[in-house]
Amino acid sequence: MIGKRTITGRIGFALAVLLLVSFSLLPFAQILSTSLKHQYDWGNPSLIPQTINLDAYKELLGLTEAKKVEIPAAIQKILNNPKLPQDKKDAIAAKYMSNDNLFPFGKYMLNSVIFSVGAATFSLVFSVMGAYSISRLRFKGQVVIQRSVLFVYMVGGVLLMVPLYQMAMNIGLASSLWGSAFCLFLIYIVQTLPVGMYMLGNYFRGIPFALEEAAMMDGCSRKEAIIKVVLPLSLPMLATVFIYCFIIGWNEYLFASVFLKQYPEFHTLPLALQELFVSKNAIWDRIMAASMLTLAPIVICFLFASRFMKGGKTDGGVKG
């Protein structure tokens, strides 16, 4: 009887799944819907916009031509005042004419990509090395290292934020732009490394050592055996770890807000989104569109990763 289900059972199951899925998808639907609505439509509780409005997206992605900003009449009067020196006039005009108040979404996205992809890449490389050594090699202090790595993970970020920033100040890193960026980078790597190592380490343990021995008998050095046998077999886990590290970096707000506060040039998306709320551009459709665009890479990442998950099966290699 195993595997046989009645019609009512199946319908009930489908309903339960549907309920759960729609419950977790509702906030996203809300974001998507609002980002597509015109201003007059914002108060409407319906999720379906009356007319689709893509302006928010266009603006964020810089697809609109820069609008000729009208200088208010009062200001124009001041500008026409002959007593005012020309450079002052230019400064005032620039303040009103510039497109600075436009949200430079592309730049923030690029910052986010650089931080999260960069940190994830390094984290993955270090995870592989660390995971391999704790799962395969025997050395003094192995257990201590293994435990202390996990301990790092258990200590929450908030606790460490102040001391870390203080340390960065003390050695003079926090006072320069590149130093701060470097610190943040390092923090992302250290934050994600324990889990990466833990996941990969367990995965490596599941790959029979005999496969590496076979590669060595076929003439590979240990390093070559790892690259040609262990890593291809670990692709699903490598992808998982990379995405995990990427997402942690992508969504990270706390440390970024501390270390990058003085460097708006280097703000990442979470920081920028926060600013969008308080800026004069706090317009719902734009905030929601920006949120949507912030989400997009993560979704793409998952779709991409699921293709890797299929590869790298380890069965069939050894007997029993």
Binding site: A214, C220, E224, K313, G316
Partner: protein
Amino acid sequence: MAAITLKNIIKSYDKTQVVKGIDLAIEDGEFVVLVGPSGCGKSTTLRMIAGLEQPTSGDIIIGDRVVNDIEPQDRNIAMVFQNYALYPHKSVKENIVFALRRLKVDNEEIERRLSEISEMLQLEELLDRKPADLSGGQRQRVAMGRAIIREADVFLFDEPLSNLDSKLRSHMRTEIGKIHNKFGRTSVYVTHDQVEAMTLADKVVVLHDGYIAQSGTPMEIYLNPTNIFVAQFIGSPSMNIIEGTLFNDYLDIDGYHLPREQLSNVVYQASIPDSGLKVKVGIRPDFFNDKAFFSETEAAFNFTNLTIDLIEPMGFDKEILFNLAGGSVKARLDLRSEIKRGGEIDLLVDLSRVLIFDYQTEQRL
């Protein structure tokens, strides 16, 4: 040139010794078969030769260099693993040619060798599959192919045919023999199978509990085992061990008196007390013959009126069990023998094949 010498090899895991001092000289081009019960250290010995395991003490010499500190990949050895160890992410073809690709052997040569090997191992149909989609026997053949496609100095085989059906096994056995004759590489071969040991080996090494119990040509091991362990381990069905008493003129087994001067395989010289010397007598089931079909010669002894307890027809011959000196004894007889359970039979034994062993130490006398 790749002779292999093992000098007093000891291997311990933590505190337990699993290989307890092995001395073995394998000549260049020799085919050596390691046999022994499960857990006696065959795989461990093989892995030490391969370099996958470091001996606790002793030297391993391959060719003219001591290889103790040489990495496995630098020893130029090909190995078939007991558990196959195929690369799960590569197709059968890529598994087999992996080592050649690494060495940047040109494609034509790879294809040529691949087709030769895959024909020999009957793998042509399977080349594009992944190991997970193969049966145990097919995987074993792939593992075999991966090793023999290389022109290594030394081949190591760890029970390479254990998962094949009997027909394929005998085919592969013949092929391994052919390969060895053709290329003459030094080979060390671990097996449980008597027939493989007997047919392939230049030299058989019987391991027992981490020691070499005996080494020699298959015939030596079969006809002149130096102790009861080897005598019973080699040969199937295994040798009968019967209690007896040795006197100056004869060997007494359950009242039968076997004349001493015709026991040409008994080399015992020391004096024997008048009350006789208690010994264990070894007679292989194959050396009994039904008197009905063999004329009594000088060298044969007639055990008369034995009562048959059990008959096991084996197809091409019959095995019978009867009681002698308080123990159950097996004899392998011709198919023609007309016997029935509970009946009586006269059996002839070739006296030159009778062995005696010390009652305590179980060593040959």
